[in-house]
């Protein structure tokens, strides 16, 4: 099997699993208790919190564990909107955010908030000046993702953060795809809130976090206990938190080496596809892009068919086609970068890890060439195109 869907989720690293295991069967105590069994768990939670805080240049008490990235996004946006509703009801975000942000914003629109969804350019970049221009006296929150999950484009977060700071508007970034892949520092970025998730960086599923800058007033997300400084009640997912901490420690240690390896593989794969498969388009920024992200649109064919055929060859990938989303519209991200519907339907995302090899990339290109050709031979759009070429 060749796994090329690391933006969807990653393999939990063996050392992460190992770090977690004692917290299921040995140190299973509730961190809120007074006896030492619980205290061991509490120490482990705090250590993980410290590790994660250090990794993003934050204070330990600014890290709040959640059940994942989507929860963190929901919390940041809903609770900030609620806390600031007196000041205004305008929120700025972009057209390419993850649905955890977009759908939350749409929910808030129903509650009487007004949301500006900023356009992006053909590479998926947000213009910081467009953010500045969108800020109004009643703007209470700006939310722009650090890196896009589909096309891998890395946004100018530090520039947007500086603008938000200057204007005194809360700034949230969804860094789910970025933590552990690229260096992050909350002060350099001037972010007030940052969402992340463990399973995107070889950690376990079901655990994430929201960084909330000290002094930022947002509402509690879960009521019912003093956990997470009373802002997100509920007994801690101790093994998950320990795993998250271990995953971050591991990712920080090998970030440079991992990124270098992935970028080499990524650019090799991009180069071969561009050279050997006609009528394709690289989606996302060529350089300002996540180390492991490859996203192409292949004209005249549809994404789900490609995925099934790749799966038959043992290759796991994903697509922004409508058929993979269960709706008739293709990915909102691909439409936002200006792709026509029929081209967006033919998109393929391959997200690499450092475990992939050049041989695997070669194998993928060989299979992909055959698959694209086979589907084109079956496609009435290609037939029409060829006839038009001949005419």
């Amino acid at each position: 099997m060749i796994y090329l869907d690391n933006a969807a989720t990653t393999k939990t690293a063996p050392e992460v699993v190992e770090a977690m295991l004692p917290y299921f069967t040995e140190y299973y105590g509730n961190p809120s208790t007074v006896y030492s069994l619980g205290n061991t768990a509490k120490k482990a939670v705090n250590e993980a919190r410290r590790t994660i805080a250090e990794a993003i240049g934050a204070k330990q008490e600014e890290i709040y564990f959640t059940a994942g990235g989507s929860e963190a996004d929901n919390w940041a946006i809903k609770a900030a909107a609620e806390a600031c509703a007196q000041k205004g009801k305008h929120i700025i975000t972009t057209k390419i955010e993850h649905h955890a942000v977009l759908h939350t914003c749409q929910y808030l629109e129903k509650q009487g908030f007004e949301v500006t969804y900023l356009d992006v350019d053909q590479d998926g970049l947000v213009d910081p000046e467009a953010v500045r221009a969108a800020i109004r006296p009643d703007t209470i929150l700006i939310s722009v993702m650090y890196a896009n999950n589909e096309i891998g484009t890395i946004e100018p977060i530090a520039q947007i953060g500086a603008i938000a700071k200057e204007k005194g508007v809360l700034f949230h970034t969804d860094a789910v795809q970025a933590l552990g892949q690229v260096p992050l520092n909350v002060d350099e970025l001037s972010v007030d809130m940052l969402s992340a998730s463990a399973h995107k960086l070889n950690g376990p599923k079901g655990i994430g976090m929201l960084y909330i800058r000290q002094g930022v007033k947002i509402r509690s997300f879960v009521h019912g206990g003093t956990q997470e400084r009373g802002r997100r009640a509920g007994t801690e997912n101790v093994p998950g938190i320990v795993g998250f901490g271990a995953a971050v420690r591991r990712a920080v240690k090998r970030m440079e080496e991992k990124a270098a390896k992935e970028i080499e593989l990524r650019d090799y794969l991009i180069g071969r596809i561009q050279a050997e498969i006609p009528y394709c388009r690289l989606n996302g920024h060529p350089v300002r892009r996540l180390p492991g992200n490859v996203n192409f649109a292949f004209q005249f064919i549809e994404g789900e068919s490609m995925l099934i055929m790749l799966d038959m060859k043992g290759i796991c990938a994903s697509s922004g086609s409508a058929c993979t989303s269960g709706s008739l519209d293709p990915s909102h991200v691909l439409l936002a970068i200006g792709l026509k519907h029929e081209i967006a339907h033919g998109s393929l995302r391959l997200t690499l890890s450092e475990e992939n090899t050049k041989e695997e990339m070669d194998q993928v290109v060989e299979e992909l060439k055959k698959i694209v050709q086979r589907l084109r031979e079956m496609s009435p759009l290609y037939e029409d195109f060829v006839k038009k070429q001949k005419a």
Binding site: G303, I308, C323, L328, E342, E377, S379, P380
Partner: protein, 145 residues
Amino acid sequence: MYSEKVMDHFQNPRNVGEIENASGVGTVGNAKCGDIMRIFLDIDDDGIVRDAKFKTFGCGAAVATSSMATELVKGKTIQEALQVTNKAVMEALDGLPPVKVHCSLLAEEAIHAALWDYAEKHHIVIEGLKKPVDDISESEPQEEY
């Protein structure tokens, strides 16, 4: 997600291709929605579908329903071919996931469009055949947040 029959018809689609000087050709669907089906029919003087071929741009279900629909109409009279409904195509494929039902509707529509083309070319009226709509994309129910 897909039945074995659907996977079989996707992996080994029957009747892919074109028919030169086909008696009737029907193209339905909408590239915007991600599905286009083109069905070619060869109908003899006795009104029997001698051959059927297809080209499809679409997902696994779209390819499989095209394949099955062409199989089902081969050897049939025009009236019998008209009775190849989306239900018949779905049943022959051992069912489709709910989000893919529109693919089977597309297959039915593509056959109707090809028959309509045949009727127009031969200046005949096929009883029970309505002028096909070329875009059958359904409006999806709005998601609630």
